[in-house]
Symmetry: C2
Subunit: 230 residues, 2 copies
Amino acid sequence: MNIECHNIIDNQMSVFSVLNEEEKELLKKNSTCTYYKKNDIIYKEGDKPSGLICLSKGKVKIFKEGVGGREQIVRMAKPVGFIGYRALFAEQNYLASAEAIEDSVICTIEKDTLFKILKTNYELAFSIIRSLASELGFSNNRTVTLTQKHIRGRLAESLLFLKDTYGVEDDNATIKVYLSREDIANLSNMTTSNAIRTLSTFASEKIIALDGRKIKILDFKGLERISELG
Amino acid sequence: MNIECHNIIDNQMSVFSVLNEEEKELLKKNSTCTYYKKNDIIYKEGDKPSGLICLSKGKVKIFKEGVGGREQIVRMAKPVGFIGYRALFAEQNYLASAEAIEDSVICTIEKDTLFKILKTNYELAFSIIRSLASELGFSNNRTVTLTQKHIRGRLAESLLFLKDTYGVEDDNATIKVYLSREDIANLSNMTTSNAIRTLSTFASEKIIALDGRKIKILDFKGLERISELG
DNA sequence: ACATTTGTATGTTTTTTAACATATTTTTAT
DNA sequence: ATAAAAATATGTTAAAAAACATACAAATGT
């Protein structure tokens, strides 16, 4: 039943590798596994965190509702990574919503158990500190680029970001995530029309190739140049 | 010599109140006090953090250089608060610069000493986790408002933010920080011209009153409405 | 005290991007 | 299989904000 969750906790690469067997067992006993279909909401802005959510399989977008309900994607999660841990550790309700963009499996570690173990494991606490600090750096960067770069620069950066986050297919060029034009727009702070238009322009300039939702990067250096120039 | 620093560590309200006398002494011994004049740079993007910087007196702006050197203020610090702790805990070089906007006093706690004490004090670690998590929430919020709100909304929000952060003078209306129009623009993601113009418009609408760098909020509710509408 | 620089103010033009309109294609539901 | 809905595509118009220009005031250095 909970195999997917147990794998995460046992994984040698995970932050839980610093725990002893007894602690790991305790975490496993106090965690639940949930399956989500594509487009399912995992949590909504305003909800109260009940535990540490870990993405075991799938892909998830984290987004905020802005002016007039306009959506801004603030993060894209991949396995194995935490979701919604910011609100949990800030002891706040969620300030963003999470939605599966592919069928996904998540493991939720019960809050009190986690905090109990956290008290005795400074290494675990350090890795959470490092994680939050890194994400804060990323967020501040995003603030600047989303406000200062022009449409082409913002879109180019988003494509590079998606490639960095999810990697590429076997052809070593096709970005390994299949977002709607609307999601690409919401990630890049532009309207859907402009995302579609600018993707088309990039394609006509042979910087990328489009095939439905597949985006193949043909000129990586060119894309980097567009992103840097703004 | 180091009295200003010692005060911070001894302060009952500070995060260090959870430490015992011995630990506090150790921190004091390994911290240095530095005085900065208005417009002095405390650190620059790319510098390596040498310790935990605590603002004891004064006011400091944290900003990033964006496209074409355009400045974006990402945070405003007040006493008693930490500066540059994100980079320190992410184990990265600074991704932003810090500049005193008033004469300021800072206390730098040496890195290794801090981490040593952090290992044995989960409460201290927790308060850093909470701090980073809160600031990340703030940063994500800023990303959305700076990208989605229109000029009037962005400026209104900035004025409310400055009031929240630094409070008001004895008249209960004048914001207790005196920024240049350029800094207000760099905080609000707009050109200096537009900051000046929009401040003038607000003044003509009797929402604020201007007297040099003094900004007096006349219609708080009105300002909130403008900020919310975007 | 004066020149020089820096900051503030405001009008005009141009660029960028959102908003709108309308096809066309693809997906989904029945 | 077919209708309905959703997603994609592209052209046009309108609005927002940057860029530019210029004037004036205040602060600073000599």
